[in-house]
């Protein structure tokens, strides 16, 4: 079916666009009003907003109908019921706001992820009061955390998973904390503008070319009287290690195959060079480098990274991996 262009926006579209525009306005205003929040922020009552929910509006209509009925029948018990419900509405409103006021929110970091994965921002929420708080949830555009209850004095880490699509630094301009407790008649919420960000590595390429060949550096053999090399440490066994070098005692003790490393032994290392895969575009090259690094790290090979504006000598380990991936994540074209 061909769609005929309609010159007017559909009513639903109009409503949602008006809603979106109003939302942006209010958020900008809140941002201006509140400024940037420190990493640990306690919610003051001035920044906790509240509005009735759909259920709340229906409840209001119902109570209004009941009030008319009570007046018509001049039924004093019906009046009691109606006024109790109205009173409960007022109480629920205050309870709902109080459920948030005084909460302490602390940004607790985010683990770096590869592009395409969700980066999980962690926010610790602490209930610094003598009463429990129920049904707390964090939310940001397109995402929300689970709902948690906080006992008096309790602190829980809420996780906001934010989907990523490209490498680089992602920041969470704004996130909110909200609650519907006690009766879902009201939604009370607060916006926070903390300096929250995390790093997204390039996505490891799925069809990367073979990594460059391994170069073996021969160590100088230092023959002493007994012809032994200097013992330098242990590392995980991998294929090709001489059985002579396996630390059998350690294996008996821990059940893990470890190889003895000797100073001056042969070391194999790879150089992953940005400029050597020039046939691809920049992002693809970064992706390929990422794939190589991830694979090399898995096999505990030493690897070095060379990109315009940065060079990391061959090594391995968590720190090395992070440094390399961070460099790739923040790569800006090598303008040095």
């Amino acid at each position: 079916m061909s769609s005929i262009p309609w010159p007017f926006p559909s009513p639903r579209g109009l409503v949602s666009s008006v809603k979106a525009r109003a939302n942006t306005r209010v958020q900008t205003w809140a941002r201006k009003r509140q400024g940037t929040d420190p990493d640990t922020t306690t919610l003051g009552s001035g920044r906790v907003y509240i509005l009735p929910t759909g259920v709340g509006l229906i409840f209001g209509l119902m109570v209004f109908a009941m009030l008319l009925g009570s007046m018509n029948y001049n039924n004093n018990l019906a009046f009691v019921l109606t006024f109790f419900l109205i009173g409960l509405g007022f109480v629920a409103m205050h309870q709902c706001q109080r459920n948030l006021v005084g909460l302490e929110l602390t940004f607790a970091g985010a683990d770096s992820v590869f592009a395409g994965q969700s980066i999980r921002f962690r926010v610790a929420v602490t209930n610094q009061s003598k009463s429990a708080r129920y049904g707390i949830r964090l939310y940001a555009p397109d995402t929300q955390s689970d709902v948690h209850d906080l006992r008096p004095g309790e602190s829980k880490v809420f996780i906001l998973p934010v989907p990523t699509d490209k490498r680089g630094r992602v920041s969470l301009q704004r996130f909110g904390v909200r609650t519907l407790f006690p009766f879902e008649l009201f939604r009370s919420w607060a916006w926070l503008h903390m300096n929250i960000n995390g790093l997204v590595y390039p996505a490891p390429s799925d069809n990367a070319p073979q990594p460059p060949p391994t170069m073996v550096a021969h160590g100088h053999r230092q023959h002493d009287a007994r012809g032994e090399e200097d013992f330098a440490g242990l590392r995980k066994y991998h294929d090709g290690d001489s059985p002579r070098h396996v630390a059998w005692k350690a294996y008996a003790r821990t059940g893990q195959l470890l190889s003895k490393q000797f100073a001056g032994a042969d070391t194999s290392s790879q150089w992953f060079d940005f400029n050597e895969i020039a046939s691809f575009d920049v992002e693809t090259r970064l992706s390929i480098l990422t794939r190589w690094i991830v694979d090399a790290d898995r096999t505990l090979e030493d690897y070095g990274l060379r990109v315009p504006g940065g060079e990391f000598a061959p090594a391995h380990g968590e720190r090395h991996r992070r440094q390399c991936l961070e460099t790739l994540a923040l790569f800006d074209g090598g303008t040095t």
Binding site: V55, I58, F59, M62, M66, L68, G69, M71, N72, Y73, N74, N75, N76, L77, A78, F79, V80, L81, F83, F84, L85, I86, G87, L88, F90, V91, A92, H94, Q95, R98, V101, G102, Q128, S129, K130, S131, A132, Y134, G135, I136, V147, H148, D149, R151, G153, L180, F181, P182, F183, E184
Partner: protein, 651 residues
């Protein structure tokens, strides 16, 4: 489109509470709705619970549609309509039952809870007993608990939900009370209130046809209750004036539609002491307002005095109302009656009850004067064989003749009618008053209970110079000649035979106590209408109460209470108080001018202070030692005192 109908047990924590809430709100309806509706509801509830428990699928659309149609037709067939409290609550119950069968999500449960609130509401429209209030509060508490089960996080236990619901309800209570007291009551309904015909009101009829209905109901139902400001009048003065009948067509006495008379009150000449009292009148669906003979002032809106000093309201009394009034038991009314009215008040249809008329004329000739004649007639009723009975034989076409000369059995209406006809036959103006006589004194509440069985008819005769004068011909029939109803006699007999006098007296006491409570309840809670509210506002000190003033007061008080509640909540959510010792220590820290580092213990900090030389070493040592003991060690109180002293010394 096929919707998934499976259940996953996710409602298991809240569904039982929702069901409980529904059962609570349905329970008061059970005696009034057809039994099959209750059965259908319970069936659906059990069915739904099993479905959730065993994670089965909900019944299909067709099953539900057939069920819905069947139930709706069932209600139509039972009630013949769907408007009114009866069919309305039956429909609500059915809606709840059927909604249960399609409840999959939280949203559906909200609908169920709203339905259960409506059920509570409609039960209140049906009956408002003393226990209805606590029961209603309990129902609301259960509904709120169910609600919290649904909307609070997973960690809240059912008991916590119940406690939270109760706490919120307690917060709401002062708001509800203030709104209830100050919300302006209006007397005119917006739309016609359908009268529940299943509970027909018993009361006085507007006409009186002695002999047509051959049996008077001895209903124990309360007509009204009266509390007196001062002494309660003597039993012989307890005549409660209702409506006045002036026309007789030979069979039936009738009055006029209630109409206002500007002169009626002026015609009353008061003599004795005033009697102030308050009446709580049960709904009658009629316009008559009952007051002690003879009413002089009254405080009820839209109420006026008719030409025969009867009180009436311009709208039917369709709910319980309270009003205060002042009466005078010693009075004269209309000592001056025009010739025209004298003829009107002696009018009789030609040729009816001929024997009575003839007898009256004979007796009048013998007596010689009006007064002597009246006495002679009363004497005749007293001396001759007339019996008071509630079950008299029916009378024919000339009922007065037949009663006076043949059956000689009747109750107040027969005597009043016969007496009036005899007097009218000789030209003495008469009219018949319908109302109540007597009333049982409730010693607990200090009030009179006037029941339907106290309904009475008496006569007023007009005598030159004396005005309208009350004569009760029934009283002339001596008490020892009153023939009691057979069932009453039988009841007394059984009680005596089985020695039940004492327990039944205790029972009677309990009944009276219950009635006393009920009176207060009716008077202050149910009878709180425009008039009571007005006087209560004045008692509170509001000048010329108006709905505007009341609403303003209401808004002001509600805002005040909300602020109070907000403060209470703030206190509940406030962070735990800082340790007193820590506060003192902080003062010391401030004095040193150094910042403690994260993870630095007081002892390490003390070393740093000593190194900086900003404070004498003994002082630093004393404070640090006292603080450590006050906070963590035994004997904290003494250490705290030392800490306070030391810090005080440097500050």
């Amino acid at each position: 489109m096929v919707k998934p109908r499976g259940t996953d047990g996710s409602l298991l924590s809240s569904l039982p509470w929702t069901l409980t809430a529904l059962v609570f709100s349905l329970a008061p309806h059970v005696p009034f709705i057809p039994i099959w509706i209750t059965a259908a509801f319970l069936g659906c509830a059990a069915w739904r619970y099993v479905i959730e428990k065993q994670r089965r699928a909900l019944p299909g659309t067709w099953v539900r549609a057939v069920l819905a149609l069947g139930c709706f037709l069932g209600v139509l067939a039972t009630y013949g309509g769907i408007s009114g409290v009866g069919p309305g609550s039956a429909l609500l119950a059915i809606m709840a039952a059927l909604k249960l069968l399609e409840t999959r999500k939280r949203r559906d449960q909200f609908v169920l809870l709203f339905l259960s609130i409506f059920l509570v509401m409609s039960s209140l429209l049906r009956e408002q007993y003393l226990w209805s209030l606590p029961y209603m509060l309990l129902s609301i508490l259960v509904v709120m608990t169910a609600w919290l089960r649904m909307s609070a996080g997973k960690s809240q236990t059912a008991r916590q939900s119940f406690a939270t619901g109760g706490r919120l309800l307690m917060y709401a209570a002062p708001l509800a009370i203030v709104m209830w007291v100050f919300f302006p009551r209006i007397s005119t309904p917006f739309w016609a209130v359908p009268i529940d015909t299943s509970r027909a009101m018993s009361g006085l009829s507007d006409t009186m046809s002695p002999g047509d209905i051959s049996e008077l109901s001895m209903s124990d139902e309360v007509a009204f209750r009266v509390s007196f400001d001062d002494a309660i009048p003597e039993p012989r003065d307890r005549y409660w004036r209702g409506l006045v009948l002036t026309r007789f067509n030979g069979r039936t006495w009738s009055g006029r539609e209630p109409s206002i008379s500007r002169f009626a009150q002026d015609q009353i000449e008061i003599i004795g002491e005033r009697v102030d009292y308050e009446v709580t009148l049960e709904p009658t669906q009629q316009q008559w307002i009952f007051a002690l003979d003879i009413p002089y002032t009254w405080s009820l809106s839209k109420t006026f005095m008719g030409p025969q000093q009867q009180l009436a309201r311009s709208i039917p009394i369709d709910q319980r109302i309270s009003y205060s009034a002042t009466s005078y038991t010693d009075y004269r009314v209309q000592t001056d009656l025009s010739r025209q009215y004298q003829i009107w008040y002696t009018d009789l249809p030609d040729g009816s009850n001929p024997r009575t008329a003839e007898l009256a004329r004979e007796m009048y000739t013998a007596a010689g004067s009006d007064r002597a004649f009246v006495n002679a007639v009363l004497e005749k009723l007293n001396q001759e064989e007339y019996y008071y009975t509630l079950e008299p034989p029916p009378l024919g076409s000339n009922p007065v003749d037949r009663f006076l000369f043949e059956t000689r059995r009747g109750f107040c209406e027969h005597y009043a009618s016969a007496f009036s006809v005899m007097l009218r036959s000789v030209g003495i103006p008469t009219r018949i008053v319908l109302g109540y006589h007597g009333g049982e004194l409730n010693p607990m509440g200090g009030h009179l209970i006037v029941r339907q069985s106290d309904a009475h008819a008496w006569t007023e005769i007009w005598i030159e110079g004396l005005g309208w004068h009350r004569v009760d011909p029934t009283a002339a029939v001596a008490p020892e000649r009153i023939e009691m109803s057979a069932s009453d006699a039988a009841f007394d007999g059984i009680g005596a035979t089985w020695g039940l006098t004492a327990p039944s007296r205790l029972l009677h006491q309990l009944t009276l106590t219950w009635d006393a409570l009920n009176t207060k309840w009716n008077e202050w809670i149910l009878g709180y209408g425009p008039d009571t509210q007005n006087s209560f506002m004045q008692w509170l000190g509001m000048n010329e109460p108006s709905w505007r003033k009341m609403l303003l007061t209401l808004v002001g008080l509600v805002i005040g209470i909300i602020m109070l509640i907000s403060t209470v909540m703030m206190i509940r959510y406030r962070p735990p108080a800082k340790d007193e010792a820590a506060i003192q220590y902080q003062r010391f820290v401030k004095k040193t001018g150094l910042d403690p580092q994260t993870g630095e213990t007081p002892r390490v900090f003390a070393l740093r202070v000593q190194a900086s030389g900003s404070m004498p070493t003994p002082t630093v040592e004393t404070i640090t030692e006292a603080y450590m003991v006050a906070r963590y060690g035994p004997g904290g109180d003494a250490a705290f005192e030392r800490l306070k002293q030391a810090v005080g010394a440097i500050a």
